[in-house]
């Protein structure tokens, strides 16, 4: 025997967090759950592109949340004397056609744009997931009704329906969110239904039925968790599309209304200066690009971690 490399009984108490989390034989429910989460985080962290995406997303969120602290000027304060000024020490990103500081508007605009995205996702993902799982598990008439409904919404071109919807209501952030939500839930329902169909006849679902579980319990506790990961992945990949749709609606004057500084609206109001004062539309344009790109990278990383089929 070499010099005392044998683990002592008391060594267990001195385990580091890392060892506790990676224990192959966890001894409590909490340890299992956190251990599994920690393993997924480690796998995600090993993917540098995905980490880049995550950091960029977090940075955008934090910058937007801290806009009141960080913004050097009031985003709505006009200074016509210094309109369309190029980037300088006083205005890092320059000013727009009304002399408003672009950096401040960009930071505040992030709150609106990212807020819209979050609102859409919060509305759409649970709804689509539930519709898909219920349709897939119950089958029969329920399935047919829910899926035809899904098909109807899927058949509408997204931007056109959103435009019609916003035009019917009053243009604004709320209407834009509802319009985007209405047109973006069907893919999640389809995805969740497809996942549900592959597992509903599995023996482990039959076993839960034999335990006396109700359909609601089976769907919520046994099917939804399995269908969830592919929906999460799809959501993070769709975020880019939602940002662009939100900005597109803003650009068409159907989203956030001036003087609110939504990124798409900012580009729209500055399109007359795109050649001479290119920095005015460039700032929100780059912001949209960075946000969309970051969400895409994040989504790819999440897929590698969460989607069992991609492994």
């Amino acid at each position: 025997m070499s010099d005392g490399a044998k683990p002592l009984a008391g060594a267990r108490a001195r385990l580091s967090w890392h060892e506790w989390l990676l224990d192959e034989e966890p001894s409590s429910r909490r340890q299992t759950v956190w251990g599994e989460f920690y393993r997924k985080c480690r796998r995600f962290a090993a993917n540098r592109l995905a980490m880049g995406g995550l950091i960029a997303v977090l940075l955008l969120v934090v910058l937007s949340l801290l806009a009141p602290v960080l913004a050097p000027y009031d985003p709505h304060a006009q200074a016509l004397a210094s309109r369309l000024a190029p980037p300088s020490a006083a205005h890092w990103l320059g000013t727009d056609e009304l002399g408003r500081d672009l950096l401040s508007r960009l930071l505040y605009g992030g709150r609106i744009t990212l807020g819209m995205v979050v609102a859409v996702v919060v509305l759409v993902a649970p709804f689509g997931l539930l519709v898909g799982c219920v349709a897939g598990y119950l089958g029969g008439l329920t399935d047919r009704i829910l899926m035809r409904l899904t098909d109807i919404f899927l058949a509408f071109p997204r931007l056109i329906l959103a435009l019609a919807f916003v035009a019917a209501l009053k243009p604004g952030i709320g209407s834009a969110v509802i319009a985007i939500a209405l047109t973006s839930w069907p893919p999640y329902a389809r995805l969740a239904r497809a996942d549900t169909l592959t597992i509903r006849d599995a023996d482990f679902i039959a076993a839960v039925r034999l335990a006396g579980a109700s359909a609601g319990r089976i769907i919520l506790r046994h099917i939804v968790p399995l269908a969830l990961s592919s929906v999460i992945v799809r959501v993070s990949l769709d975020m880019a599309g939602i940002i662009i749709t939100a900005a597109g609606l803003g650009f068409l004057g159907m989203g956030a209304q001036p003087p609110a500084s939504e990124w798409g609206t900012m580009i729209a109001t500055s399109r007359d200066y795109i050649l001479e004062q290119w920095w005015v539309p460039a700032a929100p344009g780059i912001a949209i690009f960075v946000a969309a790109f970051a969400f895409n990278l994040l989504g790819d990383g999440l897929r590698d971690v969460l989607d069992p089929k991609a492994r």
Partner: protein
């Protein structure tokens, strides 16, 4: 305890089960043997309430059962599936899967019951918080058995409980099932294509062929060769040949 009278099951145009009848008394074991496609698993799934499209009568404790079973039925009748790789939820720990029936039936003392169920099924306590993919096939089938027994049922429906396992593990699982039956006075209804498996657990055997039960006999009669139907003789010859190899 469990009876079937003139049970008929069809899938579309195919009649998978063509009017079979049998009864299993309390504490007894009845084994159904037959080739794949003979309809034996279909019978079991209909009794369990997983398949609701059947005609005839299914009796439990002397009472005819409706296709839709009440929750109390699942407290008393449980099932073990053929494939232990498919019968455990892939994203739930052993602990969670054992707790589920207890939570559904509102049974107290979940922790102590889980510990006892693992012990009874011959599983080490350290496996409690593992995921199915971290277990071997034999361990998984033990978890499935523990899950079936955790709410103290009276009847266990066994659908080819060993055919997805290695031969050496098969014997272990069969012995476990035999021990559990003795200890808990369980009623077994076992389905298998393997005559040796059926005779190991069940003193009474029904032979199925093409959706009909062609013969019913005791293990002694089988061993002594008192066989009336040619299909039974064929299955027996096959089993003997395999043993000699």
């Amino acid at each position: 305890m469990i009876g079937v009278e003139n049970l008929r099951i069809r899938f579309g145009d195919v009649e998978a089960v063509r009017g079979i009848s049998f009864a299993v008394a309390k504490g007894e074991s009845f084994g159904i043997v037959g080739e794949s496609g003979s309809g034996k698993s279909t019978v079991l799934r209909a009794i369990a309430g997983l398949n609701r499209n059947w005609e005839g009568r299914i009796l439990f404790d002397g009472e005819p059962m409706a296709p839709q079973r009440p929750r109390s039925f699942f407290r008393r009748v449980q099932m073990v599936f053929q494939d232990p790789y498919g019968s455990l939820h892939p994203r739930q720990t052993v602990d969670r899967q054992l707790a589920e029936p207890l939570m559904i039936h509102g049974i107290d003392g979940i922790d102590t019951r889980i510990v006892r169920a693992l012990d009874e099924a011959g599983l080490a306590a350290r496996l409690r918080f593992r995921y199915p993919h971290q277990l071997s096939g034999g361990q998984r089938q033990r978890v499935a058995i523990a899950r079936a027994l955790i709410a103290d049922p009276e009847v266990l429906l066994l659908d080819e409980p060993t055919s997805a396992l290695d031969v050496s593990i098969q014997a272990e699982i069969l012995n476990l099932l035999a021990d559990l039956q003795r200890a808990r006075r369980l009623t077994y209804l076992l389905v298998s294509h393997n005559l040796a498996v059926v005779t190991h657990l069940c003193p009474l055997i029904g032979v199925m062929q093409a959706g009909e039960m062609v013969e019913r006999l005791t293990v002694e009669a089988l061993r002594a060769g008192h066989i009336t139907h040619p299909h039974t003789a064929q299955l027996r010859r096959l089993a003997l040949e395999l043993e000699e190899v």
